[in-house]
């Protein structure tokens, strides 16, 4: 899909500034598949750490699929999570990442 999806790159970059956090998360994940992982992580990191439970959770889901697609390492995800104390569903995701290490 990379070549076919390339024309969408600029549009996806615009969506990184969308008012809706969930849209930013999806755009960041998609950009990662187009080779823009650093940019994606720049967007996702503050969302994972600072945003309400369900938005943080969506960003963590994006990280997992970026990892599964080989775009980001577990070490990088671990560094991104840092020592943040996650609760509820994000807590389960953090536990999952840490258990895989």
């Amino acid at each position: 899909m990379q070549e076919k999806a390339a024309p969408a790159e600029e549009k996806l970059k615009e969506l990184l500034k969308d008012d809706w956090m969930d849209i930013r998360v999806v755009a960041a994940e998609a950009l990662s598949y187009l080779g823009q992982t650093d940019l994606a992580l720049e967007i996702l990191e503050p969302i994972v750490k600072n945003e309400p439970e369900y938005v943080s959770l969506a960003a963590m889901n994006a990280l997992d699929f970026m990892y599964q697609a080989g775009h980001v390492s577990l070490e990088r995800i671990d560094k991104l999570l840092g020592d943040t104390q996650f609760k509820g569903y994000p807590g389960r995701m953090a536990e999952y990442f840490r258990a895989m290490k």
Partner: protein, 453 residues
């Protein structure tokens, strides 16, 4: 009522949002009018619900099941062959039931999302109470919504019971049993139940007796879970028998219409949480006593093939109870004086399940299912922590997959999904043969796309 399409239910939801402020006031007058009709001459309605079970019942043709009480209820009532939970997980399925609207119309489709729904979107027991019914819920709620300070039920607890109503007052009562829930498959739960003498020391079925669905890896642990699960279904059936006997002993059976259904499919992996029949198709049996036999759609023991979904249940209860159906309800009443033409299809949805996001929508008619996967890179079988913890078969199947011991049909659950799926459930009841690329089904595919999108 016009044929339900996605456009129709979006339009309905939109008009409801506009008129939300009016509804609150209008409903009070509505309630008084209904109450004046009095409590006499209206049926009691009893809902007996179980958790996480597809129609693994003798009366639905499952030869491995031992469910004498439900089999008897089916002989005395009617069975629905095409009944569906609109969502394959507790909270979103229950959101749809309690609001009478598809949960995705209200933004409450993600599992345990705790959304504050405007109070104008009142819950169905609010209306039934206003109409004079004594409404009890014993006891699961899990409605996925927050309603501060609003009490919809007369009683909602594990002590809630119709026996507490005023003399002569009609009742609507729910008794929910968790005996077949996926959480009852853990070693701890099984061993506790065995110590209590509730479960037999050994499963009733031998592992080799179990007929596995073709998508399951054939491992001893998967077979173990199936054996335990069938015993749990038998326990659930026993509880249904107890509740029916209690109704009978109270002298109320002849005044009461009884529903039995499950909150969605399951419980084993690729059941609950999945938008296929294994996760959304449920048993539905309705028994009408002689007094209310004129409301029955068929004679006792017969099957009904019309598709029905949870979104239709509140509207149907209102129709049976002689209560006006609020305009914002999205369901099609399928029984009673307000019944409409049967549906052609039901809408189904899957969103976040536990901590894992996904977005899928489906439409199912009497025979075919069309699914649109909006996140095809996310597999059906994601790394949900809870089912991995409570169902040994989940880990066993995943382990077999990782070790390359699954055939393509078994492996598919753990892999990226196609963006569209189309199944012929009559010829392929396990939904393993995707017909999307079959030119013979091109016209059907186009038609079902149009309905859904």
């Amino acid at each position: 009522m016009e044929r339900q399409t996605r456009r129709h239910f979006l339009r309905t939801a939109g008009s409801v949002a506009v008129s939300a402020g009016i509804l609150g006031k209008a409903s009070t007058a509505f309630g008084r009018r209904e109450q004046r009709r009095g409590g006499k001459g209206r049926p009691n309605i009893l809902w007996i619900t179980s958790e996480d079970n597809s129609p693994y019942l003798g009366c639905y043709g499952d030869k491995l099941a031992h469910t004498p009480n439900l089999d008897r209820l089916a002989a005395e009532g009617v069975r629905y062959r095409n009944a569906f939970a609109n969502a394959p997980v507790c909270s979103a399925a229950r959101s749809t039931l309690i609001t009478g609207m598809h949960a995705c119309s209200l933004g409450i489709h993600n599992h345990r999302s705790k959304v504050q729904v405007p109070e104008a979107f009142r819950l169905y027991p609010d209306y039934l109470r206003e109409a004079g019914y004594y409404c009890t819920n014993n006891s699961k709620t899990d409605y996925n919504i927050i309603r501060k300070g609003v009490r919809s039920w007369n009683e909602s607890s594990n002590k809630a019971h119709y026996k507490n109503r005023k003399p002569g007052q009609p009742f609507f009562a729910i008794f929910n049993t968790t005996l077949s829930h996926e959480g009852q498959l853990t070693e701890q739960a099984v061993s506790r139940r065995r110590k209590q003498g509730v479960l037999p020391p050994k499963p009733r079925l031998a592992p080799e007796d179990v007929k596995l669905p073709p998508y399951h890896a054939d491992t001893p642990v998967v077979r173990r879970d199936w054996c335990i699960y069938y015993d749990n279904v038998t326990l659930m059936d026993r509880e249904v028998g107890r509740l029916l006997k209690e109704l009978d002993q109270a002298g109320l059976a002849e005044d009461t219409i009884v529903f039995y259904y499950s909150d969605h499919g399951g419980a084993l992996p690729r059941g609950k949480r999945n938008i296929h029949d294994s996760g959304t198709r449920v048993p539905l049996i309705i028994r009408f006593p002689k007094k209310w036999a004129h409301l029955a759609p068929a004679r006792p023991g017969q099957w009904i093939d019309d598709p029905v979904g949870f979104v239709d249940f509140p509207a149907t209860v209102f129709s049976l109870a002689g209560v006006s159906i609020p305009k914002h309800f999205e369901g099609c009443p399928f029984l009673g004086k307000q019944a409409v033409e049967p549906r052609d299809h039901v809408f189904l949805f899957r969103a976040r399940m536990d901590e894992r996001y996904d977005t899928a929508r489906a439409v199912r008619d009497r025979r075919y299912r069309y699914i649109r996967n909006y996140s095809p890179h996310r597999p059906w079988g994601q790394q949900y922590s809870y089912p991995f913890r409570v169902m040994p078969s989940m880990g066993s199947w995943y382990d077999a997959y990782r070790k390359g011991r699954c055939n393509p049909v078994q492996a598919r659950y753990w892999q990226a999904k196609p963006s569209e799926e189309l199944y012929d459930t009559e010829n392929d009841p396990y939904e393993v043969k995707n017909l999307v690329d079959d030119p013979q089904h091109a016209a059907r595919l186009e038609h079902m796309r149009e309905i859904l999108l």
